[in-house]
């Protein structure tokens, strides 16, 4: 039916007492997500959005039997919050926070290799299984239940392409926003592996962008291991070298690595249909499913 999250996922919201955290906790509950607790140091014993708040993530996880968390903690404290979540023996941590210093993330990334927890993000819109649960800030109303897996580095670009799909009656199994930072937990290959292993996913849309070599690695994975058809889109064809295009990770290096051309070429070589426009992506997907 889906990957990563479903209606049985029990979620802690880290930073639930902040403006963003509280607003989105309510939005997630309205969507049907099973939010069981909040975690905010020093605010244990309170109640926010109808759920109990704990001082620690491990406390919340233990008392409420939680298996996932969504992190809305401000950037200066976010790495600590992520490390705390990774130590609380959860299955999934989704980091929404944008602007976490790279060196903090490098330490989190190291810790990630030592635990069994999966991290999605940071600087991402979250994960949604339409009709079941969303962990993050994605607008639930544009998604619909269906058989297309979706993975993207960008939030609003996801909304644009998903909206095109939904309007044509093409629904999604799960959509994963992996985030626009240079150092992220779940990458394209990880997400593609999940969809390849999901019997309900009949096609996957992958929206990449300039910077790094994750898309090239994804192309290698697709070419070697995937039977499920993949449709691609790469943003940033017109980006000049050396400039950060909004996302911290969206930068073509001075020597020319991380270009859209290289990614498109790699994906096409692996048999991926790459759309020139979001509409074209929807056309390709419609042809497949």
């Amino acid at each position: 039916m889906s990957v990563l999250v479903g209606d049985d996922t029990r979620v802690v919201v880290q930073g639930i007492t902040g403006g963003e955290g509280k607003f989105h906790a309510e939005q997630m509950m309205d969507y049907g997500t099973n939010i069981v607790a909040g975690a905010v140091p020093g605010r244990g014993g309170q109640e926010v959005a109808g759920v109990p708040v704990y001082d620690t993530v491990s406390g919340a996880a233990r008392e409420e039997d939680a298996d996932a968390s969504v992190v809305f903690v401000p950037p200066a404290f976010a790495a600590d919050a992520l490390l705390e979540a990774l130590d609380a023996d959860l299955d999934l941590v989704v980091a929404i926070t944008e602007g976490i210093p790279q060196q903090d993330m490098a330490k989190v990334y190291k810790r990630l290799s030592e635990v069994d927890t999966r991290l999605v993000g940071p600087n991402c819109p979250g994960v949604i299984t339409p009709g079941e649960a969303k962990l993050g800030i994605l607008p639930g109303n544009i998604f619909s239940d269906g058989n297309v897996g979706f993975v993207s580095r960008s939030g609003t670009l996801t909304y644009q392409v998903v909206d095109n799909l939904t309007q044509r009656g093409v629904g999604q199994t799960t959509a994963i926003g992996i985030g626009g930072d240079p150092i992220i937990g779940t990458d394209f290959v990880d997400a593609l592996e999940l969809f390849e292993g999901d019997t309900d996913t009949d096609a996957v849309v992958m929206c990449g962008e300039i910077g790094g070599e994750d898309e090239e690695e994804a192309a290698r994975y697709i070419g070697e291991y995937m039977d499920t058809p993949v449709v691609g889109f790469i943003a940033g064809r017109t980006a000049p070298p050396g400039k950060r295009m909004g996302h911290a990770g969206a930068i073509v290096s001075g020597s020319g690595t991380g270009t859209a051309e290289s990614k498109i070429q790699a994906l096409e070589n692996a048999g991926v249909q790459v759309g020139d426009t979001p509409e074209e992506v929807a056309d390709h997907v419609e042809d497949i499913v």
Partner: protein, 381 residues
């Protein structure tokens, strides 16, 4: 954020790295005075943030007063790869036998820093990496363990650095890593690290890029940022808190979310136009942010038309439309045609509210971009 060479050298010197004596100058007179104090020969170096300054004529050597004056006059005021030079660094010229490379950068694929050493300094290290990857010794560092002296020595010996200076070079690398870690650098390099005829090492150039997301805890470095800013419009974008990049085309672009704004730029190109800028106004679209964004794009003289594309997620389309209307109230007639497209939550309500006497409206992203490209062509003729 990229530090200028003189700023980076200041940080290096404070950390105890060997740097040549130098002074900043903004006129030929000041450059000559600095050269007299330092003693000839000196190097006169343009302080702009482009690679390959030497090849482009931005660095000259001077043996006496008249050479120093003419070098400073040549370089001050010159246009170096699109950037105006208004300051030079006057620096003690060093007699050297070898030029090495030493640096630390983030390997994003690995999620951890990598230290690099090469005996082929003095040229663009990325070119060396492409031509002869084995000429660079690399050592990944576990960020929670840090870099210890033995790791620096391993990299230095592996690179084949002359043993006369190997320990000094290892010490430079250890200090660079400490700076990288303490000062939230994303890239730090000395290229070239010169080996002098006296057998000492000196950092003849300095590159230091700081993580923008960490400037909140690097206050002294953040203060240097204003000086490091280039383009006027980019400086204005900083003030408004927008992610903005200026390009050379004539179709202005405003949108929300990095990926969608990049896609809008690509579509402008795809439909035969040329994007003038990347401008991400971020979440929501309150009237003030909308009018600031329009102000930015209108004040770019290259812009002939504007496409304004918002995908409302949690933000509702009718709220965005009110924001746009509010921002447009100040104009009887817009200085440049604006094509708006709203999508997502409550987009239809938003489209109905929009003041179409002032802006044009399109239903899809593709249509809005095509319309803006057409309008730019009309204005251009």
């Amino acid at each position: 954020m990229k530090l200028h060479e003189y700023q980076a050298k200041g940080v290096f010197a404070e950390a105890g790295l060997p740097t040549p004596e130098s002074e900043l100058a903004d006129s030929a007179d000041a450059a000559v005075e600095a050269a007299e104090r330092i003693g000839y020969p000196v190097a006169i170096k343009a302080q702009v943030q482009v690679g390959g300054r030497g090849k482009a004529g931005g660095i000259e050597l001077a043996d006496d007063e008249s050479e120093a004056r003419s070098a400073a006059e040549d370089i001050l005021g010159m246009d170096l790869k699109g950037l105006h030079v208004d300051r030079v660094l006057v620096e003690e010229a060093v007699d050297f036998t070898d030029e090495l490379y030493v640096g630390v950068t983030m390997d994003r694929g690995e999620g951890r820093p990598v230290a690099m050493v090469s005996t082929r300094g003095g040229v663009d290290i990325e070119e060396v990496a492409a031509e002869d990857p084995d000429a660079i010794a690399r050592g990944h560092v576990d960020p929670s363990f840090g870099m210890h002296p033995y790791q620096a020595r391993e990299a230095v010996f592996e690179a084949g650095v002359d043993r006369e200076v190997a320990m000094d070079v290892a010490s430079v690398l250890t200090t660079l890593y400490r700076l990288w870690d303490d000062r939230d650098a994303t890239e730090i390099e000395v290229n070239p690290l010169m080996v002098t005829t006296d057998g000492e090492v000196v950092a003849a150039d300095a590159v230091m890029n700081i993580d923008d997301d960490a400037l909140f805890r690097q206050e002294d470095l953040a203060e240097m940022e204003e000086e490091a800013a280039g383009d006027d419009l980019e400086a204005k974008a900083n003030e408004y808190g927008f992610d903005y990049v200026r390009l050379s085309g004539n179709v202005g672009i405003i949108g929300n979310g990095a990926g969608l704004v990049m896609t809008t730029l690509d579509l402008v190109d795809y439909y035969g136009g040329e994007p003038a800028n990347f401008l991400d106004i971020g979440g929501g679209a309150k009237a003030e942010r909308v009018s600031n964004a329009l102000d930015m794009v209108f004040s770019d003289e290259n812009v002939d038309s504007v496409v304004f594309n918002i995908f409302g997620g949690i933000t509702r389309g009718d709220e965005v439309a009110r924001g746009i209307n509010g921002a447009l109230e100040g104009f009887d007639e817009l200085p440049k045609p604006v094509v708006v497209r709203l999508a997502g939550t409550n987009a239809e309500e938003g489209m109905e509210i929009l003041n179409t006497e002032v802006v044009e409206v399109e239903e899809t992203l593709e249509a809005a971009v095509q319309r803006a490209v057409e309008r730019a062509e009309e204005v251009d003729q």
